[in-house]
Structures are given as structure tokens and as C-alpha cells.
Amino acid sequence: MNQAVEIQNLKVVYGKSFEAVKNLNLSIQEGEFFGLLGPNGAGKTSVISSITGLLDVKFGSIQVFGYPAASIEAKRLIGVVPQETVHHGFFGVEEVLHFMSGYYGIWKNSKRIDYLLDRLQLNDCRKKKVSQLSGGMKRRLSIAKALVHSPKLLLLDEPSAGVDIELRAILWDFMRELNREGMTILLTTHYLEEAERLCGRIAIMDHGKLLALDNTRDLLFEKTQKILKLKVNLSQNEIDLSPCRYPASFAGDWIEIKIPGKVSVGEVLRDMKLPLEKITDVQVEEGALEEAFLKIIRSSEAQV
């Protein structure tokens, strides 16, 4: 599989000495749905700005489908949804999309524009001036702008901020569909449950450093705990929790055991030596990305 983005030793420096990104090495495969996560000030937007050409790459290198970042060839393959929405004071929604198409050399693009306005539920305000739109509508317009030329790589910098829950679901369905059709997507978001559901791979950054990079499943597996719940047809006096190597406690009729994500349920049951015929129900609550995220960030802060 080809690489959509290849970042080598990227360093982004603001002013004389503030390093927003420190020697970042990262590659995103073509067709991936990739999540770049981190707290505020982690350096995510600096990475996206460097890929798009908004920031000059002074240290290190970035290739987009084999072309240097900020080259015209690379820019033609990229669609960008920036973190902040913009106004386009003098123009209407439909006009802005026609201009965007024109910048990519596409003059007759009504079909695509109609499709995007429809999918992003902007049809009713197609003639409205951008300045008259609500924050959520402007956000959707930003997405439509990024997609007018059917880019191969879509960069989404906090795209669902300010968008209501229902619309967010519609938006993510659309993004998933685009990804299935082959579009590579790089997403930064504060909604970790979104990243968990959408992204095949996730990178976590903080203070400009890459702290973790793995498949979402493996990241959860390595960095989270799951809660194993057992309903046993025995009284608490008849159950011995001491053979269990992991924290276990009674919660009403249930036994709750916190086990690392990578430990199998069978292993725990074997250790507990419970008579299987007495176990009437088993539930497993998987760990969430939020837990992994916090664990990684906190352990990095502890090292500092």
C-alpha cells in the first residue's frame, strides 16, 4: 500500500525557541482513517498546517503521495477543514463552493456541489451569505469546501466542534463512506469516542512529542483495563477471591474484576477456580480510548 503522508523529523518552531512539534516521524497509509489526538497545545494543528503548506516546513520533511508538502501537486490532492470557521463576507454558500472548485481548475462542478450541499444538509441555505450562517452551518460549509475537488487526502482539524449531536452522526457516517470509497482521512478531535469508532490507527501527541502510535484496537488492548462482571449462584461466603491476581470485589450479586485489556477472560476464570455451572451470567465492559489517552498523557507528564 502507498503512503499518503510521510513525515520525517518534523520540527515546528514558533518565535526563536518554542518548539510546537519536536522531531515527529509518522506515516499514514493510503486509504487509512487516522486519528491524531492530544490535549490543547499538543502540536496537532501545527502538524496539519505543515502538511497543508500553511506553515513552511523548515526542519524535517513531509511528503504527500510522494510530493513535497506545499507543492502544487500535493495541494491538489488535499482537502482541508480548518479548526476555525471563516466568513467569506461578500459571497453566498453556493458561490463560495463554485470559487473553490475553480481554484482547483474545475469550472463546471454543479453536480458535485449539489451532492455536497445535500449530504451536508446545506441545501436550504445555498443562496444565503456565509456571514448569515450559524456556527454549525459554517462548519459544514468548511467540509463541503474541502470536498469540492474530491481530494485523495482529507485533513479534518476538529471538524465536529460546535456541531450538534444529530448532525455529528450524519457527518461521521459521511466521513466513513468517503473513507470506504478510498479517501485517506486524517482527523484531529477532542471527542475521543469518535476517534475510537472511526479511526483504524491513532497517534497521541503532547507538548509536540509523539507519545503513542498504534492500531486503535491494540492501543485499547495495551493501555486500558476491562471490567469482567460475573454473576455467580453462590453466597459471598462461599466465594474465595484470593486466587484472582487482579483487583476483585463484590457489587451486589456480581463479582467485578478489573483486568488489563490484554488479559483473557478465560485466564481469569481459570485462576478463580469457580465452578462453571454456578456462573449464571458474564459481562465484559471494554476500556475506552479516553482511559488509554489519559494514561498515556499522565505517564508522559510523570516522566517530565
Binding site: L54, R76, V86, I106
Partner: protein, 258 residues
């Protein structure tokens, strides 16, 4: 047609449409100020001086002032407003070369300058007609097209540089009010350089406006304070410098929202 040309024409058309959307401010308003100058200085002062020729002297100067000032305002205000709205960042991530952006903005400024020049010329002719004076004839059409175009492009380029350099409306005001406006008023719009003391005549030689205004006045009246050959050469030299400045502004300037 290549996609590069299409993207250039799209940006140019967007910029033209932008000022046409607010034509009351961008075209009508400067024409009205020029008309007022003509009435106050040309008609009133002319009759006070018992001279018919002052209005005829003034019209080419005001035409130049309106064209050049509007060329500058067009690119500068478009860029600074785009920075304020945040959509200037789009230009940086779009597949547009710096040279494409520079030329599109400059040509948009040139079209506005031409529109204002035509309108001021029309108003001037109307005022001559109601004052029972003969119409102003163009002595050299090529010269007029050359000096209006070179002057408008020069100022549009300066406006592009200023727009990318400035990071607030205040900074933009510093350039327009403290640099450009004095150059315009001291460039010989209202007077001939011959009336200035020798020292100020020498200082005026550093003002690019002097060459553009004299060139435009020469195209109408056939007379100039300076040698017309030097006006052709020096104004073109200024144009090249401004074009390089604008290109550097587009290449290195700030696209970020303020």
C-alpha cells in the same frame, strides 16, 4: 484551457465581483470625491482665478489620483478584510502559485482603477460641458493606456505588499494615511511641479506618483513638467520594483487571521 489558467481566472473574477458587490463604496464614492474636487477647485477656484484652463489641468490629475488610489485600496483592503474574516488562509492551502495570486490581485485592482478613471473622465467632461468649455481631448491614447495601466498596477502591487505585511487595520492605516496619501497629494495632482521651490522639485523626483500623473497629464494635454521619455522609463522601473515587492509579500507574508 489549463487548470492553472482556470484557477487564476477564478481568483481574478472573485476579486472583481468582490468590489462590484460594494460598488457604492468602491466606485461611486471615489467618483463623487473627484467630482467635488473638480467643482470646488476646478470650477470655483478656476473662475476666481479667471482661468478656464485650471479645470482642464485638474481633470487628468484627479483621474490619475482616483485610478491609482483605488488600485491600491482594492488589493490592500481585499487582503486585510480576508485576513480579518479568516479566508485568506484558503489561498495558502489552495494549489495557487504566489505569482498567480499576485497577478490576479493586481489585475483586479487594475480593472477597478480603469473603471474609476473612466467615470472620473466622464464627470470631468460633463463639468466642462456645463461650464461651456470645450471637451478634453486625448492627445495620446497609447500614453494614456500605458500610464494608467502602469500606475494602477504599481499601486495594486504596493497594496498587495501592504495587505500581506499588515496584521491589523491600524497597520494598514499607517501605510495608506501616512505614506500613500501624502505621496498622492504631493505628486502634482493639483499643481505643476514648476511652482515648487528647487529643493522640493528635487524631492518630488523620488515620488513615483509624479511620473504617473505627469504621464497621464501629458497624454491629455501634450505637456509635462518632466521629460516624457523619463516618465515612461522611470514609471516602468517603479512597476518592476513594486511587482517584486508584492510577489515577496505573497510568498513570505502572513496569511493568518487577526
Amino acid at each position: 484551457m489549463s487548470w492553472t489558467l482556470k484557477s487564476f481566472l477564478t481568483l481574478l473574477w472573485k476579486e472583481i465581483l468582490r468590489y462590484l458587490r460594494v460598488a457604492t463604496q468602491t466606485v461611486l464614492s471615489p467618483v463623487i470625491s473627484s467630482a467635488l474636487y473638480m467643482i470646488v477647485f476646478g470650477v470655483s477656484l478656476g473662475s476666481f482665478l479667471q482661468s478656464d484652463s485650471y479645470l482642464r489641468f485638474l481633470i487628468p490629475g484627479l483621474l490619475a489620483m482616483s485610478a491609482l488610489n483605488n488600485a491600491l485600496q482594492n488589493s490592500a483592503s481585499s487582503i486585510i478584510i480576508s485576513k480579518f474574516h479568516g479566508d485568506l488562509q484558503d489561498l495558502r492551502v489552495l494549489p495557487l502559485r504566489p505569482i498567480t495570486i499576485t497577478i490576479a490581485y493586481a489585475l483586479a485592482g487594475w480593472t477597478r482603477a480603469c473603471l474609476c478613471a473612466l467615470a472620473v473622465f466622464g464627470v470631468g467632461q460633463f463639468l466642462l460641458w456645463i461650464s461651456s468649455m470645450p471637451f478634453l481631448e486625448i492627445q495620446n491614447v497609447f500614453g494614456l493606456i500605458y500610464f494608467v495601466s502602469v500606475g494602477a498596477l504599481f499601486f495594486a502591487f504596493v497594496g498587495i505588499w501592504a495587505g500581506f505585511w499588515a496584521n491589523s487595520f491600524d497597520q494598514m492605516n499607517v501605510i495608506t494615511q501616512f505614506v500613500v496619501l501624502p505621496l498622492i497629494y504631493l505628486g502634482g495632482v493639483f499643481y505643476s511641479l514648476d511652482v515648487l521651490p528647487a529643493f522640493w522639485q528635487k524631492v518630488a523626483m523620488f515620488n513615483p506618483l509624479v511620473y504617473f500623473i505627469n504621464g497621464i497629464r501629458w497624454s491629455f494635454l501634450g505637456q509635462s513638467d518632466l521629460s516624457i521619455q523619463s516618465c515612461f522609463v522611470v514609471s516602468f522601473g517603479f512597476l518592476i520594483v513594486a511587482a517584486l515587492l508584492a510577489w515577496r509579500g505573497v510568498l513570505k507574508g502572513s496569511y493568518f487571521r487577526f
